[in-house]
Symmetry: none
Subunit: 175 residues, 4 copies
DNA sequence: GATGAATGAGGCTTCATTCAT
DNA sequence: TATGAATGAAGCCTCATTCAT
């Protein structure tokens, strides 16, 4: 599975190649299919396992009514901690097999939902402006995914991410 | 070329298949290669031709200091007018061959640049808040591309686009 | 036909390409097949026409009991005068279609036969050593064809040819 | 590899066909490419392996100052022992891919060099006439290759070879 | 469990030849 | 007579998957 992970990071989902995975794992090509019935199940398994692990990392920090800023930071830290995986998803999520794509999206909802609640809290507290939190989050997730998907076009996430976050917060906060 | 266009819309760049294009065009498979030396040149040709045509449509509306709202609307109208193409690009732009991707991005700069200038003008005129226009545009383009790339997740562009635009403008405008 | 000649010189018989010939002739691809029923008839026609023309050039010089030296020189001059054609034949004669190959060989016999007779005369006159003229001519033709077939391995025919001729004559002449 | 060898013998390098090789080997077409990355590497591998094996067979007999006659005989025996391969090379060597052709020629040098030295020794010993050994060897190799390349034109190598050898030696030896 | 050779369908490309215009 | 788009068979190569050992 580590070899498959590396293959996904290096070549993405579409171009991932079972022979290369086997080589990377130091086993014969056929051996891959003893452990996973098909290429798809192998790759999907990795994607889900990693997606869920990432989500699980995040969950403990979602309780206790964190501020939006804290959640944005959490999001950036987590992406940065799994950068190759995050990049692969940013690039290929839209063209992943429908079932896998749906499951990945589901796994990500807790963070998005926590952000939505944080926004609502901020608005109730008069710290954030009025407006639709879902739309706002579209801006955030869209910008972050775009940043990840084009690593040659933008500064690295560690640099550009905080700038995005500050810009985002400035727009949302009451002046 | 129309068959190739349809193939790109239906299957995307990576999965576009010369045999299916030939069938779609009602010719033999080999015939495709009389008109285009390779699959890549055919697909890239379509992508660039359509990308440039779209860009050209937009250019006349960029002169005369249009407002940001006008430009956002223009953007949405143009995407909606070429929805299958826009969706394909939103989905696959990050994994397109580097050369093609670069050319597509170049073709799109005039609109982005006009938006940037419109923001600057709005800021000078005291109608828009202070802040980095590039960051703001990251939010806009990110959200729009995300919307296009996941057509099953969001309402159609014609519905969701204006909502995005209004949300975006509300954030930028001085309260 | 000139275009086909050029194509044969540039690419050889096997790799000669009817589309390139048409382009070279400034006509449409299909037009080639108005004048020649098949690629093979076109190429074979060229090869035979040129082979016969070359042979015809040589024939007048075969009468009048020329010396072997004169004939060797004639051979070298004629090859040099049609170097691209001679090179193509040296390279590809063994793999030409059987019928064409046979005809090319027939066309060449007068020169070989004249050489054989010159050798016999030289032997009768006591100027050349005893031995089988056919074997000797195998050496000559073999060496010359080898020289032509590997232009990058040997000095040009104009340089190496005379050396070969002198070496050959020295071996044959009575000491 | 045996199937490829047979294919080379039957159809030559240019016309060798990977599908026919697969059939000959009793495997599926795709299987060929498990063992050899490309057609070219397969064919080149065969040619080099066989060329080197042939050369290696000869090498032990090159030491100990053999006579020219012994070397010519060795040459003929070795060609006869690998007749289909020798014929293929005689026919196609000039049109082989440049890199392969160069390697084949290199592999053959030891024999040619041994012949050259044998000639020099023969000349020193007063048994062979004065003259350029390289030119003489052009006659020998040229005649032998011509004989091999046109199997339908000449008696078989086993018959004609010794005659060529005797004719060659007679010309070189001091009368 | 592991191997790795084998499968076979599918992909792109070439090119001599045909034929409606 | 000329055109040139079209044909279609053939060629090389890839890769997920199977299976006898």
């Amino acid at each position: 599975m580590d070899a498959a992970r590396a293959e996904l990071a290096d070549h993405g989902y579409r171009e991932a190649n079972t022979a290369r995975i086997a080589t990377g794992a130091g086993v014969a090509h056929g051996t891959v299919f003893l452990h996973f019935p098909t290429r798809e199940e192998l790759l999907d398994g990795i994607v889900m396992a990693d997606g869920q692990a990432d989500a699980a990392e995040v969950v403990p920090h979602l309780s206790g009514s964190p501020t939006l800023r804290a959640l944005l930071d959490l999001h950036l830290r987590q992406l940065d901690a799994h950068l190759p995986f995050a990049r692969m998803l940013a690039r290929e999520l839209p063209s992943l097999p429908a079932a896998l794509r749906a499951r990945v999206l589901v796994v990500r909802t807790p963070l998005a939902e926590a952000m939505r609640l944080a926004i609502l809290r901020g608005q109730s507290a008069g710290q954030l402006r009025a407006g639709d939190p879902t739309t706002w989050l579209s801006f955030w997730f869209g910008a972050v995914e775009r940043l990840l998907a084009h690593p040659d076009l933008f500064p690295p996430l560690a640099v550009r991410g905080p700038a995005l976050r500050d810009g985002f917060l400035t727009l949302l906060e009451c002046p």
